[in-house]
Amino acid sequence: MSVEEALEMFKSKVSGQVPFREKVLASMIRRAKIRLSYKTWIIFDFANTFFMVLTYFLLAFIITPEDISRAGYGPSYFAFALIGIAISHYVTASLRSLSMTIRLEQFYGTIESILSTPTSFIVLFLGDILYFFLYSTIFLVLILWLGLFLGAPIILNLDTALTLCVLIVLLMLSNLPIGIASAAMILKFKQGNPIGWALTWINQFFAGTFFPITLLPTELRAISFLLPLTFSLDAIRYSLIWGVNLLHPRILSDVIYMVIYAIIGYPIALKIFNIVYDDARKRGELGTY
């Protein structure tokens, strides 16, 4: 093919604007395609979750649920643990997806290509969060279904399902500032994995994924109350186990806590991120990993 034909492409000036949502969508699809190219990883994720549910199903047989019901979560340890497992992907998504994005883009070397376009990095973040949100939702549905099949006493109806949707969005919103701050840490320290990993573990432990936090000594429980996840978990459990909706006072108070976290969290997290980002552009370390 001749140079003439190729030149032809550049004679017309198209000044268009690709709508924001189309960019976010494109960014989501890109992440999905990349992730799906690691097929075994996805299979692992599913198998792992499946066996985890089964493990806690069996463990529940030797557990006396007194402490669970004393903490207000009804008579079934299996239901208690199941809900913890079911939302764990959302937790990981909000805590780690942003830092993973930065880390991966640095690793691929695409971060500079993207920043040389007039499109803001936020598009990428939103696309990735959207991808992880959908991915986690598939897990949520599968896990709840498996739990119901194994006889977990959770109450799923239109009322609680809608409440669940709202609470999950709040869960992600209230946990994202921590994710943004840890993404900034990655830009700064370049050591992504350990930080994200520690965050996940700490949240899993202190927010009480596998046991009610009432079992924690008072000093440790103070840490629990610093984590928005503690309130998200409490609200989701309470709603699914007792079949109550957003208007229940206990859930309402959890919601207020989550909203407060979000309101306080975003300005701080974005500030930290901007400082680190500008610093990286000054030091010329955007692309290094």
Partner: protein, 293 residues
């Protein structure tokens, strides 16, 4: 300029006849691995937190477990001890097994694997053994850490030195059986390049079917799953290990002998492992996929 060329050439004039022993070379490969890992401080710190938190979770779950239920299934009524021994042993085996395959994948992605294979077979085998031993040394930190944290939290684990001696014997035997599996996994990796599936499948199977977190007798109502569990060497190793340190059974206990028999059946896996590994290696060399990833 001519001077340094001459000097460099000089090195190759002598043909060395002396060789380090097989074991010395295996140890050398271990030594350099330890040196590399010591540079990952952050990694070590996180590993440490990981140990403590994972034990702590089961410390608190332990409060929920009814001691009667546990002892009615034949164990001592302490769930923390039960979980700590399970996690300790399964993680120990799992990290050791995955170690070799991970190391291989690393060498391949760094492009150094082909030069490793280029050295002669004997040397390559000692490199392999060195990696395996290294895997176990490194992960034994995990093991010891887990048990110590568990004991600090009050897990009732036997302190009888003779029983500990027996426990270590069981551990070594279980390891020996699984070294073969690790080498096979590594071999399959060289050929199929699907590391995660292999390893993760192993870990899932070990954690779930081995009964790491719950007593296996609970699985008895789900027959097919129960049979799968019984066919795995790890299940028997873990059961013996727990019985020794929780129930203070000696090896002469009839149930223990039964488990021991099961484990011994799997022992030839080491030899088989080497054979299969080399077969895969040769296959990969034929197809020219040694260095690709």
């Amino acid at each position: 300029m001519a001077e340094d060329v001459r000097e460099a050439l000089e090195i190759f004039r002598v043909r060395e006849t002396k060789k380090d022993s097989f074991m010395a070379r295996a140890l050398a490969s271990l030594y350099y691995q330890l040196k590399i890992i010591a540079t990952y401080k952050m990694f070590l710190a996180i590993e440490f937190i990981d140990i403590i938190l994972s034990v702590l979770i089961y410390y608190f779950v332990g409060f929920l477990v009814s001691p009667q239920a546990l002892s009615s299934l034949g164990y001592s009524p302490d769930y923390l001890a039960f979980a700590v021994l399970g996690i300790g042993m399964s993680r120990y085996l799992w990290t050791s097994i995955s170690r070799l395959a991970h190391k291989l994948s690393h060498e391949i992605s760094e492009g150094t694997f082909e030069s490793l294979v280029a050295i002669d077979v004997d040397n390559f085998r000692s490199w392999l053994i060195g990696q395996v031993i290294y895997g176990f040394t490194w992960s034994s930190m995990w093991f010891v850490g887990t048990i110590l944290v568990g004991m600090a939290l009050g897990a009732k684990i036997s302190g009888d030195p003779i029983l500990w001696f027996q426990a270590i014997f069981i551990l070594l035997l279980t390891i020996a059986v699984h070294v073969g599996i690790g080498i096979i996994a590594a071999g399959m990796y060289i050929k199929h390049k699907q590391l995660e599936t292999m390893l993760v499948f192993l870990s899932l199977v070990m954690e779930f079917f081995g009964g790491v977190l719950y007593p296996l007798s609970l699985l008895y109502n789900y027959r097919p799953l129960y049979y799968i569990a019984m066919l795995l060497p790890f299940t028997h190793g873990l059961e013996m290990f727990r019985r020794t340190l929780m129930n203070e059974w000696t090896i002469l206990h009839p149930q223990m002998l039964l488990h021991l028999g099961f484990l011994l059946v799997f022992l030839p896996l080491i030899y088989l492992g080497f054979k299969i590994f080399e077969r895969y290696l040769n296959l990969a060399r034929k197809e020219g996929v040694l260095g690709t990833y």
